[in-house]
Symmetry: C2
Subunit: 123 residues, 2 copies
DNA sequence: TCAAGAAGTTACCAAACAGTAACTACCAAT
DNA sequence: ATTGGTAGTTACTGTTTGGTAACTTCTTGA
């Protein structure tokens, strides 16, 4: 057997995790998917994020082709809308699986309930 | 609808990604799963990792209950064996899905071939 | 008794990442 | 001309993470 050499930086797992590493990225993708799609709305849901970091993470996600950024100049004040690209949407499905694994394997029962309560559109 | 507040540090996605964030953790889990289970063997497959960092990451994985560490004093020189716990093994399955997503969505064709070549036990 | 192999530990340094606070740009209504 | 709202940017700081190089421990065979 060959003794192949491994390095995260050339591995699809490392690259994929790189897309969503950054303290807020999975949440941002989640919120955008659920039409919390404006800069200010995102800030309201993540009160602990700063504008600077929110901007950075949105730019990262945009550069990686996971979200689209649309400026509407028509209205006042000028508004910016974010939406998932197809790639971003397929990544969201993967993140759902991560969510499920984590919910079962890491959280205790009270946390599990809280996590489920935070899901948008669940009844 | 309540305007719930979100933070990665209390989210199962963030916690799960936290388990495998660290430049080498997905690879370490992968190699241990395939019986590359000794400190020295792991180093041979990851020539760019330092002993210090390898130790750190192994300790993290152990503390999170993803791997077991067994010291065999019987033989000479003293040997340390690592193995996946059940939890570690179930996480590996999740990592496989991340691998598949990344292979399809990030890598170009030559990288895809290389990634597949690096898989252990594939034919 | 000492050399050698496995598996670390320690001290120290550099880069990446996250955070705060203050400042900017644009535009429309008054 | 000034205010108010959205969406940023900039300068600066602190924390976390990863990296190098040298040192340590344990053991046994020569």
């Amino acid at each position: 057997m060959k003794t192949n050499e491994y390095d995260t930086y050339s591995c699809p797992v490392g690259k994929t995790i790189g897309l969503i590493s950054g303290r807020w990225k999975p949440i941002i993708l989640y919120l955008i998917q659920h039409d919390i799609n404006r800069f200010g709305l995102l800030q309201k849901r993540m009160p602990k994020i700063s504008r600077k970091v929110l901007t950075e993470q949105l730019r990262d996600l945009e550069n990686q082709g996971l979200i689209d950024r649309e400026v509407r100049v028509s209205s006042y004040p000028q508004e910016v809308f974010y939406s998932l690209t197809e790639k971003g949407s397929s990544l969201r499905m993967l993140i759902d699986q991560i969510f499920n694994w984590g919910t079962v394997n890491i959280l205790d029962e009270p946390s599990r309930k809280m996590a489920v309560d935070l899901l948008i559109d669940h009844h």
